[in-house]
Symmetry: D2
Subunit: 413 residues, 4 copies
């Protein structure tokens, strides 16, 4: 890596920083109060410019930071190397590492003996519990960024296996209503458009899963003129999709109709060989869920007679009957792992990482019991207020009279 | 009321019944099992065709039903009189009653000594606790339909004043994500368009409150080409509105910009004299919240030099400076109290009333403690499944392998 | 008709007048200049409040006006009687007349020997050419409001049968991009929602024809959460619908999928017995085109075993196999002929009738040759400018330098 | 350029070819009929994969093709070099050439003495008329792709300076309703999102110009949750924007409110120093019109104290008062000239280039007079039909009876 490349990494981080006003406000206070003074924070997050701004913010609050990636393809090397040049920050992430190297980097973070861990997907916390139990005692707690990670933590908690308090950043309204819905929606759309150069309008797009991510995707693809088919296993979500104007079908039915498939279920084998078998010539499949398990790549690799990469991040398979189907970013989350996937918009990560920073501070400050911990409402509301304020938006305040009315029940007709 | 008018009432109920397939399925089972055999159900709901189908369903399950209205302007007299002709049903509702008559009718329902009460807004339950305490012992519990009613019940519970178990039908996902959002949205839009004959496209519409109702309204007005301004007191909701593409302002600012104002806050004095004072010539104000307290009518009546009713349900006031501003349906909820407000779409009430019927059965069957009770998830899911089934929609089911994956946490990268 | 009813008619006209600022500006000038002094204007338009404002405007410019309806069901009697009380205006329209009475009223208008005719659908101009040729010489020309009327006029012109200059008001951008698209869209939506009380969200809506009217309808129904299927005979329009995110199918296919059908083709037999035969139980069919020929009512009347009118303007037919299908407003254009169809929004008609008033003046002023005449661009632009001005909207003006650049061609790269 | 890079160019062209079924059908016929046998076609178009498929199609029809770029930044070098390896094709385009080299490459194309010219923006045709008049006699005619080019041609025609027949491909419905609206809309959106990594939702986006391109952009940005302000000089277009729900303002007003500015006017100095002076800190400005004249770069360069390139294709300027404003792709059309701008979606160019291929054939076949020539309707319709057919969409056909009805005028009521 040349000096110029490191400078490019620094410039990218600068651009992100300018568009993250909420973190900037928090940073100001942290610099004064230094709540992380003498504390090591271990992180496993997508190592790209926005994450770097979170790292800088914690560092400004006094922390020593050790960070690695949470996905082998999402690391931007220039940003990683830039971070590494900063005093008090150690970065072990590298793009395109294999599974062994991936876990070695996680171990390198843990070797620093962090007091707080910030995780995205659960690999760091899981490693700690399974392979590095000797370090558990020194960890005061952690924060988890994603649906998938929180899901894993709850399963651990249910099995009595979770020995730390971990704040479920993902589940708080300011995260889930913004990051999951608008962040995943916009960034996936952008990544799919850039990677394929295909049109959205007029397409039939199959969205698997209608949680916050799926909802955002359906909304945004439809808004650009796609006909959207939703697949779901939950009847209530399925009905919401139906009332939203989307077709709701089983994947078996939808497989034959889709031009583009996006999975957001967090589950395995959502698109399998059976589905690839029915797809139209030219169909494109990608994943916007956390792990690369939703699309069964083994199936398609086995079925295909040949494959090629006509565009970066796009592998096209030719089936025995001559149909071509393509998979983006090797089935990893397309908005981060595709070469043209830049991750969530900067402003969205400003909110999510503001909650991360404040939650990490909360973990340090309070003496929490092991388990999955909710983000305190004050933190959530404070981030909303900071965002409104930095956007120049004023809102109404309840009057005394209105507050009284709201609390009373002796009125009617 | 002539025989022909009663027949018209019956025909309207027939039309609604045909479009309520979920209630039809439930009715079938209730007819067989007669869980309401020997039970009196007391109701205070909007007396119109869809409600009549709920009444019939309970009657089919064996209940004696006594019903009155929950709003002096929402009763459709032909439907009320038709219900009264049915054996086992007594209806005390009448359109346009004054406050005294309104509460007399509620008392008439209570005189029947109901074992279960179904309420919309809380007037029936409140009357029971305040004026008819002697009857409390005989009541096993109740169900409440609206946000406002549940809000009042929770205030009562907080004050230790609630002596019955009351199921918060309003709060369950199948109600709040459909009835509040799509039901209020479509029916308010329809009522405003019919009552004013004004255009939506190109208008500036101010939506006060961004809960489920406000969200639905903002969405639907914007979809027809209006520019929407949202006012809120909650920063997180305000931010959601902002990210949805709406302008977010204080009502003081918005007052001068709006062509149409719709209140959905459930609170008092959302639009007051100060706001009327700033409005544009031709502005129209209406309410889609439960009670007629959101728009301060006294203020406008006092300020205005004269008024007239150029269209049914629309009162136009002329201000001293010559500006005209209009209020729809006397500030009562416009989708039901305006002469051209037909209430929520039939299919939406099929869902909400399915939950009512099953919740009433649940209250009877279980021995519940006093307090605000959540709708059991099984009921909520069952209604979703019945709706999908009667709409001919099939959805995916998780495989064994997927269920295992979802419950485990030992996977990663 | 009582005095009170006539006063109600007057009040409705007053409401419309207040929301028609463009006509108000034009009226001011006409009052000063009196270009219609001594001229009789014969009109056949939907007799409702907005039309009354056009009539008043012409009257203010000096005209004697004789008017009747252009559809037996669209006349609002209170407005008609009110118009008749005004000095210099004679109104022959009456709601619900039969075909003979309909043409008698047209003849009554022609008996006044108009110099200018304003028509909607072509019946007045056609009658003049076929039955009242003796009057042709006295007529200086006319104006036609709708697609259907202009279509008929062009056919007459092609056959050498058109002996008057008639301005095709319908075809001018300020009419077709606003009235046809937004006016028909909003008013049809409103009429369907009021007449049926059914939900739009989650429905499959089949829109037959994708001209300006169909496009507006598709857009608005989809915006409320309907899945829209478009049928077309023109491949380019079909493709526009496809790229807009709609399903495009033949009516034979669509018939089995639709919950609601709206015809906008201007042609005959768009929905016939074959289609009624395939429809789902509960399907609703209506027409938003000009004449009642698009839905073959004879077919459904013949097929049905019985029928009833559960709501005003809604006739429900029971088929031999038990399915119910309903037709709104007897297959006439639902936004005007349904009892709850109030016609286009007021503000839209302000634009269309501004063009009518200015085009009628143009016909009088110029010495035009027989044939279909385009609205002069100055009139079209002037109406746009008046609307912007009365809405308080300022726009940019080209600078000298920009105008030069635009007119030159010697720049590049 | 390595062999591998040329192969990458070839692979990209392959991907495009697979998604251009209309051109594939046309190619089949051209291969059989060879209408371009012995003909040289000279082209100045964006040299990227989709254009390469048009080149191949003409080549398959017998043509010798000489091609260069029509914008110094839109050429993809790997595609250019690949084209050059194909027998019968000469490609002179190179990314990042300066103005002199740009015109040298145009001259190189003209040196081949083409009989037909295909142009995008008018530089080729203009050069022919100004500098290479000796070749004019040998040219049978041309085709022009864009609004800007056609605008220039009409100015030349008005001045009596156009000596060739040139088909205005841009103006035909199948081009303007698809390419300009959906193509520019999607590709600009994609380029802006990739280049900035900023969020669209919640932003205020100022769209300058509300022609087909501006309309598409407004629609798509709003659909993703932006608040859109439109600026216009034409009152009718301004009014359409207003009725579509957008704010309409002058650029002077809008300058202070926008977060993102996109110009689509085809005119000079739409965003100037005065506007940069009022912009918010963090504002981003880009151009989606043809030439780099809409944003006055000289102004901003002069005003700024410093600038940097934190992301490829994004130059950020710091103003004396500390505000940062950024310009994308040096003010050139962002969807093609930004490093992450891939141009219109493949399927859109399939339509536009199908018209190009058929229009070039038409120019050769017919003996056309000099001037701007409309695309014959048969060509336009044929492309629509081919697209429907290759998309598997069947549409209705008029019956005899319907055709008769449509042509007659003797029906009414």
């Amino acid at each position: 890596m040349t000096v110029e490349e490191v400078q490019e990494g620094e410039a990218k981080v600068g651009w992100a920083r300018e568009h993250m006003p909420v973190l900037a406000r928090i940073r100001k206070r942290l610099e004064e109060e230094e709540p992380f003074g003498g504390v090591t924070v271990g992180m496993a997050l997508h190592v790209e410019p926005k994450t770097a701004v979170l790292v800088e913010t914690l560092r400004a609050g006094g922390a020593e930071v050790a960070i690695t990636g949470c996905n082998p393809l999402s690391t931007q090397d220039d940003v990683a190397r830039y971070l590494d040049t900063v005093d008090g920050i150690a970065c072990f992430a590298e793009h395109g590492v294999d599974e062994e190297e991936y876990y070695e980097a996680i171990d390198a973070v843990l070797d620093r003996e962090p007091s707080v861990v910030i995780d995205d997907g659960g690999d760091l916390v899981f490693r700690l519990h399974e392979e590095r139990r000797e370090l558990l005692d020194g960890v005061e707690g952690g924060c988890e960024e994603t649906t998938t990670g929180v899901h894993r933590l709850r399963a651990m908690e249910r099995d009595g296996a979770l020995e730390l308090p971990v704040v479920a950043v993902n589940d708080t309204p300011m995260k889930r209503n913004f990051d999951n819905r608008h962040g995943t929606g916009e960034s996936t759309l952008s990544a799919v458009m850039s990677t394929t150069n295909l049109q959205v309008g007029g397409k039939t797009v199959v969205v698997a899963g209608y949680g916050n991510c799926g909802r955002g995707l359906a909304e945004k693809f439809a808004a650009l003129g796609a006909r959207v088919i939703v697949t779901e296993v939950d009847p209530r979500r399925a009905l919401q999709a139906h009332f939203g104007g989307y077709d709701v079908k089983t994947m078996d039915e939808a497989a034959a109709e889709g031009d583009l498939f996006v999975t957001t279920t967090g589950n395995v084998d959502v698109v399998t060989g059976d589905h690839f078998d029915r797809m139209r010539d030219g169909a494109v499949v990608c994943n916007a869920g956390h792990f690369n398990v939703e699309i069964n790549l083994d199936d398609v690799e086995e079925m295909a007679e040949e494959h090629r990469e006509p565009r970066p991040g796009l592998r096209e398979y030719t089936m025995p009957d001559g149909r071509n189907v393509s998979v983006l970013a090797e089935g990893r989350l397309v908005n981060l792992a595709a070469p043209l996937g830049w991750g969530h918009p900067v402003e969205i990560m400003d909110l999510s990482f503001a909650i991360q920073a404040l939650s990490a501070e909360y973990v340090l400050r309070e003496d929490l019991e092991p388990g999955v911990i909710e983000v305190p409402d004050e933190i959530d509301v404070m981030v909303a207020e900071l965002k409104l304020r930095t956007s120049g938006i004023a809102i109404d305040r309840m009057t005394e009279e209105q507050r009284d009315y709201f609390e009373s029940w002796r009125h009617g007709t």
